[in-house]
Chain length 248, copies 2
């Protein structure tokens, strides 16, 4: 059943894709000692690949901005991806000590103001359009690098309690410190290409792939009070999700 | 704190981004009756936006391939996104009746062969490199449209049992029908820009944003036996994830 020859469905392109996927996994999970990839000869031997396949796979990773190749120096990882547990990204679990959600983010606030609740946000939160809400928009910085852009709409009374207090790490720390009760989070996750304004705020090229989240946070009684649209740099953040099959 | 004026951090661009995010949410969740968006005047009134803001927000959605605008006809949704529950995407929950995982996918098999286990896959599965494994690679079709490209590496003995049986809907149906026992699934989720070969197989433009999954499936005893690299069309699939906060 293996496809033959060259072209997008062909055997050569398939070998390149597969090797790229395998190496990409190791790169993003930080599995190469000192961030140095093995040389071409070693990769050819390990993967039973031709030199052309190895070079093209590495070139795809280079074009993705994950590695750098220099004559005489070799191939190095140039990305520092953060793995976040899904439950922490949701804000539903207390962050582990080494987690990015353990006060390792810093916000650059773009907007923090009382605005009338926009129509779609009203539908998502089950509140009347035009009701007062807090709009809090920020770029999340990790080690001073922009990694995500988030626009939050928070119904009152919760929103009112978030207008003034210090906001100095992540969203969940802000909710916690304001004494807001968190019940459940829902994400609708997808991806999109960065528009020019978002690209500029996140310091990526226009068209760069971003992970998109629409989040609705409910209080412990099931009432939704917080809607967020979040755009996350695809080369910075990875999300780890686990699911166990219920035994029948 | 609101940014002023034009430019990427400016007030006008921010209004455009926010309106785009709100409308994008409604478009992807299929919330416009008959797929028809309200006219410019109605959007201006609903969102307190200028005509320029409305037009630029719609233009971003049009460039993303989500809507089409025609003089005299109006603005229509042209995308048909599928929402999948995360537990179903993991294969850890039986699919609901209307789910995409309820036999609504069809695979186009690209490769189904016994190969030596590649190095990174060996590390992920805790098996020796070069051990025999099944490589099963396919494009997942939904209503005859390509939506995802998946490369699976399955250790023996499980892989051996997947070499021959009919594969006619989704991966989890294949595992189930082969009598393989499923314990746990782990995803590392991110996104990337489509390389030329993947773009061609998924019928998207080169550089189009794709959701990437690395999946490891374990048996009920915790032994990993299946690694998959999956690239999913960002304009076709959305994933719904929920997390409830444990009460302290």
């Amino acid at each position: 059943m293996a496809a033959r020859g060259h072209g997008p469905g062909g055997a050569h392109d398939a070998q390149v894709r597969r090797l790229r996927d395998l190496l990409r996994s190791a790169v993003l999970r930080g599995r190469f000692d000192g961030g140095q990839l093995p040389g071409e000869a070693e990769l050819m031997a390990s993967y039973g690949a031709t030199r052309a396949t190895v070079r093209e796979a590495l070139d795809l990773l280079r074009r993705e901005g994950l590695i750098d190749r220099r004559q005489g120096v070799g191939t190095h990882v140039v990305v520092n991806a953060v793995l976040a547990r899904m439950a922490e990204a949701h804000g539903a679990a207390d962050p582990m000590a080494d987690s990015i959600f353990n006060r390792r983010m810093r916000p650059r606030v773009l907007d923090r103001s009382e605005v009338p609740l926009p129509a779609v946000a009203a539908e998502r939160l089950g509140a009347p359009p035009g009701a007062p809400c807090l709009r809090l928009e920020y770029v999340a910085l990790v080690e001073d690098e922009p990694t995500a852009l988030a626009t939050n709409y928070v119904l009152f009374p919760e929103g009112e309690r978030l207008l003034a207090p210090p906001f100095d790490s992540d969203w969940y720390a802000l909710l916690r410190e304001a004494g807001l009760r968190f019940g459940e989070s829902e994400f609708i996750m997808g991806c999109s290409a960065a528009d020019p304004a978002t690209a500029s705020l996140l310091a990526v090229a226009e068209g760069a792939p971003l992970i998109t989240f629409e989040q609705v946070i409910r209080d412990p009684d099931g009432r939704p009070f917080n809607l967020a649209h979040i755009h996350t740099r695809g080369d910075r953040f990875l999300f780890v999700s686990r699911a166990v099959r219920a035994t029948p």
